[in-house]
Subunit: 443 residues, 2 copies
């Protein structure tokens, strides 16, 4: 008989361990930050728990992993939509960022993002933005697991006037969060069209020095592919290969315009891709060749992108759209089955971020990142198949309880780790300033 | 000073009347089943209300209109997904229907659908199925507005052994619901590939006799287009035109494979189309030429289709996907703007169903079908633009209060008109039988 802190029992347990195993009536036991038992039954024949969580009529599963976002951009959610890309970027997003982004905006915007992510079942996110120290502070406050990356590019950012300062900022993050239980650091040059070869080399060297993941926006559109080829005189993926980027720590965001040869090279080198279908749809970037990547063995996770281009951080909706988009694009309802999509948001997503062995499945020894989805609701009734419901019917608001690293951060829809009303109020105040800054420049 | 039953105030009011008018802080007053006042301010200078509803930090708007569904198919939600169309239909849906569909399944499945629809802000739905008398009973119980249509085809259905009986069933419905305040009847032959010319002629004659709407599944796939041309020796739309279908009471569901000439003819004749993007994606049917239809002046509403092919009835999600799918399909982020999509689910949707003048906008004299969406939530913060939030960020679960025909059917997420737990329990029991019936036929 083991003494444990929490037993969750009474529901269907989706372990996502070996073949997306489903335990129809199972339990998960947690001690400290770790899963110490998973099995069928209620667990009370092997464990004595300080707290029992009833998961009747619920699905118990690993927390969702949002592989690519810009958390603080919640502050710009719905500020500008339905515009041609250049108009959107040059007349709205860039000026709004230049005039408004500061540590305060990043902290409160990120904390608001944490509220939204926790409420919709995300326990880990991989972020790229500026003043990422503030995003780390927000994630720590919220109790979320994350990878944070200060964006690197050739031009001045509100946090780093030069690329060198961006690299130093990243180095400081790498040192500071070296052995943090929840926060780790990713080196993140923005994109090939915004970073010099020199900056990319230095970014790679920094990632190598710390054995850190290295992420970049890559081939988000066919236009990007073409213009990079013209500028570099070589394909984008070949160029990255020459720079030594393509290894198992490399994570490429978007990859809408990846060629078959690129995909084969990615698979050979063990690179990961984060697919962001809603953003790709809303910005009209195109449809990523996800099925081809998976067929070739590329590790493909799922992300929401930021709230300026989605405009939400709900991974359950992202899963639904990931499945449906591939089906209609390929005119084949049998591609991107629900089981596949669930794994992209959990076990495969954790591999994509280099967190496999820690999170992404429910298994003894893994960190306790667990969510409980309440299926006693009209839109989740009846329940023939948990995978189907997770992808095609469940919504963020169905997530009842969220445990991260053994800590209950949301219990029965109540966020326990911080005051979400304060985050909302602060972001509303920040948004008034954003709106004024945009009005001032209107013709 | 008018005496009224309800005043809703304190929120942003989206009237959807002339140019999608937005009143930043407005009120709506209701007396009996009718809207008797809409304006800015709190309405208390003109009306004295028995009940005040506080809509602070909320959006007040017309109830959503689901233009095409098969409500009772909630009973088959998630029973079979990710299959090739023939396998899905012939080995799962058709056998499950043949063995299980009876009045009880249709009543409880429809009532469960009403729960899901009310919870996600739908106040009107247009249904097609069998035993539609039971769907009407469920809608009446739930207090929902609907068009019901007994499906007509050449082969026996569980409710009607012959096409003639299907027509008689429909005639009885037309007579019975002639002056019902909430329920009206639509004549619904299933599709051109399942109905003889004779049946189609009789259906049209019946619709003409009662001046009723006439709806049909049409050109859901390119395959359907091609095979109909081969079978009929003429294009599907030309064939319908010859049969006298194409007028302002005609509603075509899906229309993925409509040609430019078809679209022009539809526009000329005042026909309506219901677009079902999630179903079209999940079944890999293709992408309907929605922008072309709208450009030509076709009235295009929005629907979810049934829960076997979506698998949810959430119109807010359907709106999101309707916008994003057109953008990525046309590689143009500026098409299908949020304002347009909101109108498809409300004011234009009501026109599509022939309910304009009754519902679809908030205006004095219209029926009081009103929903309140709670924006004091992380994923709806900040609020720059209500249209953007409705399409790109809001979810069904954000709907707080629903009023249909002046009656509050959901108040602060509590359904008042019926016992939704009973509906869930009954459908769970029905689903056990469905599952057994499928297992018996497994190899």
């Amino acid at each position: 008989m083991k003494d444990v802190d929490i037993i969750i029992s009474g529901g269907a347990v989706l372990t996502l361990d070996s073949g997306n195993g489903l335990i129809e009536k199972g339990f998960v036991a947690v001690k400290g930050d770790t899963i110490v038992g998973v099995g069928s039954g209620n667990g009370q024949d092997c464990c004595r728990a300080a707290r029992l969580i009833d998961a009747s009529r619920s699905i118990v599963m690993p927390g969702l992993i949002n592989g690519h976002t810009h958390a603080a951009m919640t502050c710009f959610r719905g500020m500008a939509d339905d515009l041609k890309l250049e108009d959107w970027l040059n007349n709205y997003i860039f000026p709004a960022e230049a005039k408004n982004v500061n540590p305060e905006l990043v902290y409160w915007g990120s904390l608001l993002a944490c509220a939204e992510m926790i409420r919709s079942g995300t326990t880990t996110f991989c972020d790229m933005y500026i003043f990422e120290e503030e995003t780390a502070r927000a994630a720590r406050k919220a109790g979320m697991r994350c990878l944070i990356g200060e964006v690197l590019f050739d031009f001045p950012s509100p946090s780093c006037p030069t690329p060198e300062e961006g690299l130093s900022y990243t180095r400081r993050l790498l040192e500071q969060y070296d052995d943090d239980p929840l926060i780790s650091v990713i080196v993140e040059p923005h994109a090939l069209y915004t970073c010099s070869t020199e900056l990319l080399k230095q970014a790679r060297a920094l990632a190598d020095e710390f054995t850190a993941p290295l992420g970049i926006h890559l081939l988000e559109t066919a236009w990007e592919r073409k213009s990079l080829e013209e500028k570099l005189g070589i394909g984008a993926v070949g160029y990255l290969d020459n720079l030594g980027f393509l290894n198992e720590r490399f994570i490429a965001f978007h990859c809408v315009a990846l060629s078959d040869a690129d995909i084969r090279l990615f698979a050979e080198r063990g690179c990961s891709v984060i697919h962001n279908p809603e953003s790709n749809m809303k910005l009209a970037s195109g449809v990523a060749p996800v099925q081809e990547m998976i067929d070739q063995g590329v590790v493909v996770g799922l992300g929401t992108d930021g709230c300026a281009s989605n405009n939400n951080l709900d991974m359950l909706q992202e899963m639904d759209i990931a499945a449906k988009l591939q089906k209609v694009h390929r005119l084949d309802p049998a591609v991107m089955k629900a089981e596949r999509v669930v794994s992209m948001a959990t076990s495969v997503g954790s591999r994509a971020l280099g967190l496999n062995g820690f999170v992404g499945s429910l298994k003894e020894g893994m960190k306790a990142d667990i969510i409980i989805i309440d299926c006693n609701q009209p839109h989740l009734t009846p329940l023939y198949n948990p995978h189907s419901h997770l992808v095609y019917a469940a919504k963020g608001a169905d997530v009842k309880t969220v445990i991260i690293n053994g800590r209950i951060v949301m219990d029965n829809r109540l966020i326990l780790s911080f005051d979400e009303q304060e985050a909302m109020d602060r972001v509303r105040r920040i948004a008034l300033g954003v709106q004024k800054s945009l009005e001032r420049r209107a013709p």
